[in-house]
């Protein structure tokens, strides 16, 4: 890891100005992705602006049927939150199944979303639940936030401050883990919401995405058997040593069915 200047601001405004004043700065949250990238010298920021000392970015609140989670709230805190368990049990369960215990104690929702790994869990959750990302500049709908592989709508110096999830009627997330990394080989998040069924898939292609064909089939008939008739295109599936394209496409259906069954 190359050297850098470290900053620990106490407010979002100070964090943004610290980054603005840096040559090539980066925000640091749990460090569970960024520090590994820096060790490999794939990133060598001149400055790290640690968001860990900003009280405003922590914590979970529920109001008017939606759950708002501060950007530096850890996966372990989301999993253990009685508020999240009560309003969106599928989200608490998903957070409790990210990585391992130590990763969950350090990794944060903001870091996970800003990073937007193609096999990460939170990107699927925000798409399926129709979440809204609040930053220090604006509000971004989940569908606009996720742009491409490791790419989001965030500008260079923009800070995610919180993520707000409207509570669905019911929801479930099923993940087939890559057993060594615990990331999703394929994960499918299904939510029954006031505006209809929303389905999001992660791990299968270069970026988490909605599944419009699955949504159409499930809006017509919300049952596991409705998934059988859906053709999942094989062309864009990820191919690696862990799974081929056909296998991943099949897993999308299997995980979708299990999620529908778990929704009840």
């Amino acid at each position: 890891m190359y050297g850098f200047d470290y900053h620990r601001p106490g407010s979002v405004a100070d964090a943004a100005s610290a980054l603005g004043g840096a040559d090539d700065g980066k925000y640091l949250a749990g460090g569970q992705t960024l520090l590994a990238t820096m060790k490999q010298r794939l990133a060598s920021p001149s400055d790290l602006v640690d968001l860990g000392g900003i009280a405003d970015l922590k914590g979970i609140t529920v109001s008017g049927g939606s759950v708002s989670i501060g950007a530096t709230t850890t996966h372990a805190e989301v999993a253990a939150s009685a508020d999240v368990q009560g309003a969106i049990p599928a989200l608490a369960a998903m957070a409790g199944d990210i990585g391992d215990r130590q990763v969950r104690n350090a990794g944060t929702i903001g870091g996970s979303l800003a990073n937007n790994d193609p096999a990460a869990d939170y990107p699927a959750a925000i798409l399926a639940l129709g979440a809204t990302i609040t930053t220090n500049k604006r509000q971004i709908a989940a569908d606009d936030f996720i742009v491409g592989m490791f790419e989001t709508a965030l500008e260079e110096d923009e800070i995610i401050t919180s993520v707000s999830f409207p509570a669905p009627t019911s929801a479930a997330y099923m993940k087939f883990k890559q057993p060594a990394s615990r990331f999703a080989l394929v994960g499918v998040f299904v939510a029954k919401t006031a505006g209809g069924v929303r389905v999001a898939v992660t791990g299968a292609t270069s970026v988490a995405h909605r599944g419009p064909k699955l949504e159409a089939a499930l809006n017509e008939n919300f049952s596991a058997s409705a998934v059988d008739g859906v053709q999942i295109p094989v062309d864009h599936m990820n191919v690696d040593i862990h799974a081929g394209a056909e296998y991943r496409a099949n897993l999308v259906k299997v995980m979708a069915k299990r999620a529908v069954e778990a929704c009840g």
């Binding site: 190359y2 050297g3 470290y6 520090l35 640690d50 130590q102």
Partner: protein, 155 residues
């Protein structure tokens, strides 16, 4: 170089280190406590697990500066004098270690687990241990040790 101060095993410590110094190197090279190991340096193996403010984290994936002011416990902080911590005693009596390289991290993860989850069954222990890798034991006796240790701790 920033001066980084924290409490390690109940003692106030301080050292001038580079910003890029990892917590595990701060503990081993600057504080001189070498019980915390580096197995992989890529957050896979869990040999480096310590508690920061009561929560288990991988000290190879945390900067020392991030732990400024924190309360840190390492494997050296568990025993009281000659008397082993109940989890250490359980590992010893259940043959929960062979070469011992993974053991400090295993024990620190196990204590965090026992502190936070009650009535641990075998399946839960195995699942919650997936951040710790052991190349020797085949895990069977580690799981047995943790179950026993958790019971001794009152869980």
């Amino acid at each position: 170089m920033p001066t980084v101060s924290m409490t390690v095993n109940g003692k106030a410590v301080s050292a001038d280190v580079e910003s890029r110094t990892l917590l595990v190197h701060y503990i081993r090279d600057h504080i001189g406590l070498t019980g915390t190991h580096v197995g992989c340096d890529t957050s896979q193996c869990g040999a480096c697990v310590v508690h920061v403010n009561g929560k288990s984290v991988k000290s190879c994936s945390t900067l020392a500066v991030q732990a400024e002011g924190a309360d840190v416990t390492t494997i050296e902080g568990l025993a009281s004098g000659e008397e082993l911590h109940p989890m250490q005693a359980a590992f010893k009596e259940n043959h929960g270690l062979q070469c011992g390289f993974c053991t400090p991290g295993m024990v620190m993860s196990a204590v965090d687990l026992a502190n936070n989850m009650k009535n641990l069954d075998e399946a839960t222990i195995r699942e919650q241990l997936d951040g710790n890798i052991c190349r020797c034991t085949g895990y069977h006796n580690i799981v047995k040790s943790i179950k026993d240790g958790a019971e001794r701790m009152g869980g």
